[in-house]
């Protein structure tokens, strides 16, 4: 049912916007096994001028071709009740052979989502996506859509270049080091010092006050008298609580994935703007 609806939107979009690109069969051939047939910037929500759209397409194409993947942007008016993740995953699969990264922006709900698929999952780690978000989210929120999308494209290029140079995708451990913060270190050390001193002197103090009541009568249990005659462990109930995970930078790196309704694996990150 969901599929049917998405397909309708998809066909509408195709009819309105999608024109096979001139160089689709040639230069984009190395992007993936099958050539991309559609523009890498699709502005269904009409946020960009003609010339902006054209130059954005040129930018995304040149990046995509240089690094052999797809870096794409799509704007739509509404998610029509689906999640941004579902829609972004769907278009990445249907339009771009599920290869690369797609930034989907829906104006109706003011939601955005980056979906990664294929080798894109490896190229853009959770931490990479988090850093990529920082590059465009302010401009997107402020309504500078062209700037936001070019920042997204250049940011994606930065991490693709990093991967090409370092043989591994940009991840937590590649983050620039925080400058040494002497105040924080001193504060931590003082707190640790106070705790350590309290434990040590607490131990010395307790040597002076050994007089206390016995908790039980364990010393007077008759040897061998303890016998268990019945033992039964009965499950009663369980509670599950959940807390939102902290951002992936505090995690262990890598890319977390989910499976789309189309059965493909995707990485991604999304939010509101």
């Amino acid at each position: 049912m969901k599929k049917t609806w998405i397909r309708t939107v998809f066909l509408l979009l195709l009819a309105l916007l999608l024109v096979p690109t001139a160089y689709a069969d040639t230069e984009a051939a190395d992007a993936s096994d099958e050539p991309a047939e559609y523009y890498r910037a699709i502005d269904a929500a009409d946020l960009l001028t003609e010339s902006q759209l054209q130059s954005l397409n040129e930018l995304l194409d040149s990046i995509s071709e240089r690094y052999g993947t797809n870096v794409c942007v799509m704007t739509i008016d509404s998610l029509e009740g689906y999640t941004a993740e579902e829609v972004a995953d769907y278009y990445l699969e249907e339009l771009y052979n599920n290869e690369g990264i797609l930034l989907l922006v829906s104006m109706g709900e003011r939601k955005w989502h980056m979906s990664t698929g294929g080798d894109g999952i490896r190229l853009f780690t959770d931490y990479g996506l988090e850093c990529l978000e920082d590059k465009f989210i302010d401009a997107l929120s402020a309504g500078y859509y062209y700037d936001a999308f070019t920042d997204f494209g250049r940011g994606a290029e930065e991490y693709l270049r990093f991967e090409a140079q370092n043989d591994h995708a940009f991840d937590v451990w590649d983050a620039p080091k925080d400058p040494y913060n002497p105040i924080l270190c001193i504060v931590i050390s003082l707190v640790v010092g106070l705790i350590g001193a309290a434990i040590y002197t607490g131990k010395l103090k307790s040597e002076l006050k050994p007089v206390r009541f016995q908790p039980g009568a364990g010393a007077y249990v008759r040897d061998g008298s303890f016998q268990l005659t019945a033992s039964n462990d009965m499950f009663l109930y369980r509670n599950v609580t959940r807390t939102v995970r902290e951002s992936s930078s505090s995690g262990r790196g890598g890319s977390s994935t989910h499976t789309s309704s189309g059965g493909h694996s995707h990485g991604g990150r999304g939010g509101s703007f």
Binding site: G193, G196, A197, T201, L208, V211, F213, V221, Y237
Partner: protein
């Protein structure tokens, strides 16, 4: 037709009503879901909860034989009211509790004859030595305490104890919790599972002692436990030579509560030791029943040491059989500040080095 029954929620104790055709049920107060079978078994178990049955046969102590107490006298301290029993020939005695002179008042009467006595094994010299050793190596003890403290009184005292023996049968229900953590891409999950752990069994206690003297601090007496009862002998006045006995002023009946408390605690702990695989185990209900509960009256040897230092009185006790020595000591506040500051500086300096190295090499 479905039977409508009312049960108690295992989570919050609220009443859950349900009809027997339902498969699951939910507590209307805390929203916890249960299997019907679980709630039924749990309620069956709770329904059988009973109060403790801790009856004792109070037959401690004997009547004195005619003439047995002839050489014994009761002495009373005019200062603190302490009453002690000693041989008539004992001259110029000082109260072991406060160090003031005591006066002979009457013949031994109105008190029971002890069933047992553990004779003193360690003498006065050993007690003095134990005190010396005890004040060594304690960093916060005022330096001068060791040199200046004045031993006002060092007296071997037979302290009256009520001994409680019993076979125990117990049904105990614990609440056990297991905790499991996992995560998906968006959330961290914590699952807490609750179990009713039922344990039934038997255990026996021999000669749980309760101090029968009000003058002796109960916590001080419990601190020098345990005694080895295998060295106990039937009481004879001959063992009193050179020592005094404190006259009991807490009856066996008045000591029952403390004995019950200790027996109950130890039973619950021992049974809890048979639960495993739980993050936490708490006693929910315990039913303790005593069989063959009987009491006896014994005198245990204690070296009692009173000292004065800086106008403060300090009382120490040594187990006259095992030599275990305890007593609270004064603290040197300036030494405390010195040690606190020194350890603070050392730990803080190490922590600072570690935080720098962690930042430098690991971040």
């Amino acid at each position: 037709m479905a039977d409508v029954l009312e049960y108690k929620c295992p989570c919050c104790g609220g009443a859950i009503a349900f009809d027997s055709t339902a498969q699951k049920l939910k507590c209307p107060y805390c929203d916890t879901e249960f299997d019907i079978g679980t709630v039924q078994s749990y309620n069956d178990s709770v329904g059988q909860d009973q109060a403790d049955d801790m009856q004792w046969d109070m037959s401690a102590g004997n009547e004195w034989q005619p003439g047995e107490t002839e050489g014994m006298r009761v002495y009373v301290c005019r200062s603190c009211g302490g009453e002690i029993v000693a041989e008539e020939t004992t001259a110029a005695m000082l109260c072991p509790f406060c160090g003031n002179p005591v006066v002979m008042t009457e013949n031994v009467s109105g008190m029971l004859k002890p069933d047992y006595v553990i004779p003193f094994k360690l003498d006065k010299k050993a007690a003095k030595q134990a005190f010396m050793n005890y004040t060594q190596g304690k960093k916060l003890l005022p330096r001068l305490f060791h040199d200046e403290t004045h031993i006002d009184k060092l007296q071997g005292v037979y302290v009256p104890f009520w001994l409680f023996d019993a076979d125990v049968a117990a049904d105990i229900r614990y609440r056990g919790t297991q905790v499991r953590h996992w995560s998906d891409s968006k959330y961290n999950y914590t699952e807490t599972s609750y179990y009713a752990l039922e344990r039934s069994g038997n255990i026996a206690f021999d000669r749980v002692p309760v101090d029968g003297s009000r003058k002796m601090a109960d916590d001080l007496m419990e601190s020098i436990e345990p005694y080895d009862f295998s060295a106990a002998v039937p009481f004879q006045t001959a063992y009193m030579a050179g020592y005094v006995a404190d006259k009991y002023d807490v009856t066996a009946e008045q000591s029952i509560d403390r004995a019950n408390e200790r027996i109950k605690n130890s039973t619950e702990r021992t049974f809890a030791g048979t639960t495993s695989g739980y993050a936490a185990v708490q006693t929910e209900h315990s039913n303790i029943r005593l069989f063959n509960g009987r009491t006896r009256y014994a005198l245990y040897p204690v070296w009692l040491l009173n000292t004065t230092w800086n106008d403060g009185k300090y009382v120490f006790a040594m187990n006259g059989q095992t030599g275990k020595f305890v007593g609270d000591l004064p603290m040197d506040k300036s030494a405390y500040r010195k040690y606190f500051l020194t350890s603070f500086l050392i730990v803080a300096a190490i922590a600072m080095g570690v935080t720098y190295l962690v930042w430098r090499f690991l971040m």
